[in-house]
């Protein structure tokens, strides 16, 4: 079990319990976090689960994979902290993760 906090564009925080092996996107959808659309259902094919990883977690999640890098071309306002949440696996190592949800996924 890992606690993941989704920070909405307006500052509201939603805490969710991530189960090891699931993805951060699945955790968001399961907890009805607004702003994580996940149109493609986690196939890394739509870039609608874009999140910004908070600074204190920078560098702790490992690099983006090449497919994710390609898909991020379809996201808007991509930053160094951008990730597709369907490509982040939940594990004890990410307990306490904080990510920011963009205002719009498109």
């Amino acid at each position: 079990m890992a606690k993941i906090t989704f920070i909405q564009h307006n500052g509201t925080e939603i805490d969710a319990n991530g189960i090891a092996g699931m993805t951060v996107m699945e955790t968001a959808v399961k907890n009805q976090v607004p702003g994580i659309d996940a149109d493609c259902g986690g196939a890394c094919a739509c870039a609608t689960c874009h999140v910004y990883v908070e600074p204190e977690w920078a560098g702790k999640l490992g690099p983006r994979n090449p497919m994710e890098e390609d898909m991020l071309d379809f996201a808007f306002d991509v930053r160094d902290s951008s990730r597709l949440s369907c490509q982040i696996k939940v594990s004890d190592a990410i307990d306490g993760l904080r990510v920011r949800v963009p205002e719009k996924q498109f």
Binding site: D39, C40, A43, A45, C46, A47, T48, E69, D70, L72, D73, F74, F76, D77, V78, E103, K104, F106
Partner: protein
């Protein structure tokens, strides 16, 4: 150029469920026309995940979206459905004789006895980047697709994106525009290597510009763009002069015109019964991801089941009073004849 077709059934959507609907209707001698907004069959399987493996199709432990599509096309082949691609159904209404009239944005009109909506997540439409104020420039300075190349002759064009659409249009429009700039967030492109090389040659030859960065704002007035504000890789901000912008950020699914057809909806999905998968309008059916009923699961296999049951009611509507004999493809001579195997 307007066209007109009269047929038994029109299927809206050529994704897996639409394709299997051709098969199920075909077994009951119902002729179909199929309409899709994409330029090919497959729906999400073609557009979103052609190469991703699917593991939950019965009897196919692993199949890709592209492979599933080609297998379904092959299975439906004996029934000679007519496909109409690059068409969005904009209107659907019942006419006085009880049939349905459909119109597409490409000016095709259909008259048919039953309609099957197999539109999945709705229609694929270009993603609109949420740049503040972009709405004011849409269709005057900002375009999400190229319908006629001539419209861009002599323009100062900014193309945004790094995929095939962005690169293809950069290369194709470059000879006729006044100036061409391609903007992408990184100096690495998903597009076919050939088109990337061609673009780089044009840059080398001084015929166009390549910029690495992202659009953050737009400048102009009265719907006419004068520049796009761009945040470049080093974090600095600059204006790129342009009077036309073409953003290519891929496609997204929108319910689209389906919402305007007067059908009962449940949270943007079409309500159907679970016996005939008929909507609130008799003669209009909905199968696959676009429909909703208690217990609905958005699985391709559910859509296949729905298509089989829906076809029974379609037969009754098209052939009133005729007895429908339930038959198996394994043993029925008549079904095997239709399939061309006997």
């Amino acid at each position: 150029m307007s066209e007109f077709f009269e047929t038994d059934a029109v299927i809206i959507g050529a994704g897996p469920c639409g394709l299997f609907t051709i098969f199920e209707l075909g077994l009951l001698d119902i002729k179909c026309h199929v309409i899709d907004i994409l330029d090919r069959a497959g729906g999400q399987c073609a557009e979103l995940y052609p190469e991703k493996p699917i593991y939950d199709i019965p009897a196919l432990p692993l199949v890709t979206g592209a492979d599933l599509t080609s297998r379904l096309l092959e299975q439906a082949k004996p029934f000679n459905a007519t496909f109409h691609y690059n068409q969005m159904v904009t209107e659907l209404r019942k006419i006085d004789d009880g049939r349905f009239e459909l119109k597409t944005d490409g000016e095709i009109t259909f008259l048919c006895k039953v309609v099957v909506i197999a539109a999945g997540g709705g229609s694929f439409q270009p993603k609109k980047p949420p740049i503040p104020g972009i709405d004011a420039y849409e269709n005057t300075s900002v375009f999400y697709s190229v319908k006629k190349m001539e419209a861009f002759r002599g323009k100062d064009v900014l193309i945004v994106g790094g995929g095939d659409s962005a690169l293809d249009w950069t290369n194709n429009l470059q000879p006729i525009v006044k100036s061409m700039t391609l903007l992408h967030r990184r100096d690495d492109f998903r597009a076919a290597p050939d088109s990337v090389n061609k673009m780089r040659e044009l840059v080398e030859a001084g015929k166009m510009q390549l910029k690495i960065g992202q659009v953050t704002g737009l400048k102009g007035g009265n719907g006419i763009l004068s520049a796009a504000t761009v945040k470049v890789a080093d974090g600095s901000v600059e204006d790129v002069a342009c009077n036309t912008m073409l953003p290519f950020f891929g496609l997204t699914m929108k319910l689209g015109p389906v919402a305007n057809w007067g059908l009962n909806l449940h949270e943007n999905l079409i309500k159907v019964d679970t016996e005939k998968f008929e909507t609130s309008e008799p003669g209009i059916f909905a199968v696959g991801d676009i429909n909703w009923y208690p217990g609905k699961l958005k699985l391709i296999l559910s859509g296949f089941h729905e298509a089989a049951l829906m076809a029974q009611q379609a037969f009754r509507l098209i052939n009133p009073g005729e007895r429908l004999l339930f038959q198996y493809t394994t043993s029925s001579t008549s079904l095997q004849k239709k399939l061309g195997v006997n």
